[in-house]
C-alpha cells in the first residue's frame, strides 16, 4: 500500500515538473515572439521615417539646384576670398619694413641707394652732416639691441666721398626677421 502511494506521488511530481517546463517554454516563446513582432514594427516605422527624411532631403536638394547659379557664385566668392586672405596673411610687406627702417634715420638723411628683400635691407647714405650720421648710428645700435624685427645690423662701410672731402658715405645692412 505504501509503495503504491509513493508511486502515485512520484507520478504526480513528474507531471507537475512537465507542466512547469511546458509553461516556461510557452512563456519564453511568447516573450521572444512578442519582442520579435515589436522589433519588426519598430524597424518598419524607422524605414518609413528614413524614407520621409530622404524625401525631405531630395526636396531641399531640388530647391538648392533651382538656385544653382547663385550657389556656384557664392561658393566661388568664398573660395577666392579664402585664398586671397591666405595670401594676405602669408606675404611679407618688404616696403613697410624698409619704410620702418628709414623712419629711424634723422629727417635730413635720405637714402642714396637701397636694396630690399624679404631677408635683408641694405641702403647707403651720403651726407655732410656728421652729427646726423652719428645719431643714425646710435639709433641703429639701439635697434639691434631692442627691436624684435631686426636680427642683425651691420655698418658695411663708412668713408669720405665727394671732391671736396666733406661728404660722408655710409653703407648699412639689416638682417630682418
Amino acid at each position: 500500500m505504501r509503495q503504491e502511494i509513493n508511486l502515485v506521488l512520484q507520478k504526480q511530481g513528474v507531471k507537475k515538473e512537465i507542466r512547469k517546463a511546458f509553461v516556461w517554454s510557452v512563456g519564453v516563446f511568447i516573450a521572444v515572439f512578442a519582442i520579435s513582432i515589436i522589433s519588426i514594427i519598430v524597424s518598419a516605422i524607422l524605414s518609413l521615417q528614413l524614407k520621409n527624411r530622404e524625401n525631405e532631403i531630395n526636396n531641399i536638394v531640388g530647391q538648392i539646384r533651382q538656385e544653382a547659379e547663385k550657389t556656384n557664385k557664392i561658393m566661388a566668392l568664398n573660395e577666392r576670398l579664402g585664398s586671397i586672405n591666405s595670401v594676405f596673411t602669408q606675404r611679407i610687406d618688404i616696403i613697410d619694413e624698409f619704410l620702418w627702417i628709414l623712419s629711424q634715420s634723422p629727417a635730413n638723411l635720405g637714402f642714396r641707394t637701397a636694396e630690399v628683400s624679404n631677408e635683408s635691407i641694405s641702403f647707403s647714405i651720403e651726407s655732410d652732416d656728421l652729427v646726423s650720421i652719428n645719431t643714425l648710428l646710435d639709433r641703429i645700435y639701439n635697434l639691434e639691441k631692442t627691436s624684435a624685427k631686426v636680427k642683425k645690423a651691420d655698418v658695411l662701410s663708412f668713408s669720405k666721398a665727394g671732391e671736396d672731402g666733406n661728404i660722408y658715405a655710409l653703407q648699412l645692412k639689416f638682417q630682418i626677421l
Binding site: 507531471k15 512537465i18 517546463a21 511546458f22 516556461w24 517554454s25 510557452v26 519564453v28 516563446f29 521572444v32 515572439f33 520579435s36 522589433s39 519588426i40 519598430v42 524597424s43 524607422l46 521615417q49 528614413l50 527624411r53 530622404e54 532631403i57 531641399i60 536638394v61 530647391q63 538648392i64 538656385e67 547663385k70 556656384n72 557664385k73 557664392i74 561658393m75 566661388a76 566668392l77 568664398n78 577666392r80 576670398l81 579664402g82 585664398s83 586671397i84 586672405n85 591666405s86 595670401v87 594676405f88 602669408q90 606675404r91 611679407i92 610687406d93 618688404i94 616696403i95 624698409f98 635720405g110 637714402f111 642714396r112 641707394t113 637701397a114 636694396e115 630690399v116 628683400s117 624679404n118
Partner: protein, 212 residues
Amino acid sequence: MKDLLLLYYQKYRTYFVPLTILVVTIFVFFNIFMPQVSSIQEKLSQLGNKADDIERLKKNLNTIQSFPTENLDSNLSTVFTALPSSKDILSIYLGVINAADKADVTISGFSLKVGTLYSKKKTEVEKTTPALSASLNVNGGGASLTEFGKELQNTLPIAELKHMTLSQNTGTYEISFFYKSYQDTFNPTRSVVEVLSGAKLKTIKRVQGGQQ
C-alpha cells in the same frame, strides 16, 4: 539498441512538446529578433546622419536664399581680378601700369617669366599659391620709387614684392603675381555654403581699394 531508444522515448516523451517549443523559440530569437535588432541599430544611425544632412541642407538653402544678390556679380569679378584662375598676363600688365600711374613713375622695362621655373627660394605664399614672376625697371624720383613698390603690393592681381633695388632715379623690382585655378566642386549634400564673414567682407573692401 532499438529497445533502448524506445525506453528513452517512453521515459522522456512528455518533455517533447516543451523541448520543441524551446527549439522554435531559439530559432525565432536568432533568425527574426537578432537581425531586426541590428537592422534597427543601422536605421537609427542612418536616421541620425539624415537628420544632420537635412540640417546642413536647410542651413545651405537659408544661406543661399538670404545671400544678398546686388553686389554678387561685381564682387565675384573683383575677386577673380585679384586672384585670377589662370595666368592673366594682360591684367598683370595693366596692374603694373596702374601702379606706375598712381606713383608717378615710368616703366622702362617689363619682363614676365610665364613658364613654371624651378625656384629654390620660394616665399611662404608661393609654396601654397602659384605665382608669375615679373621683373620691372622703373624711372622716377626717390620717394616715387618707394611709393611705386607700395602701389605694386596694393594693385590687382595681388602680388608680393620679393626684391627691390633703388638708386636715385631708377628702381628694379622683382614681384610675384598670384593666380589659382578654380574648379566648381559644389555638391548639394556635402558642401557647406558659408555666409561672408567679417574678415572676408574686409578683404573685398581691401581688394576693391586696389582696383581703383
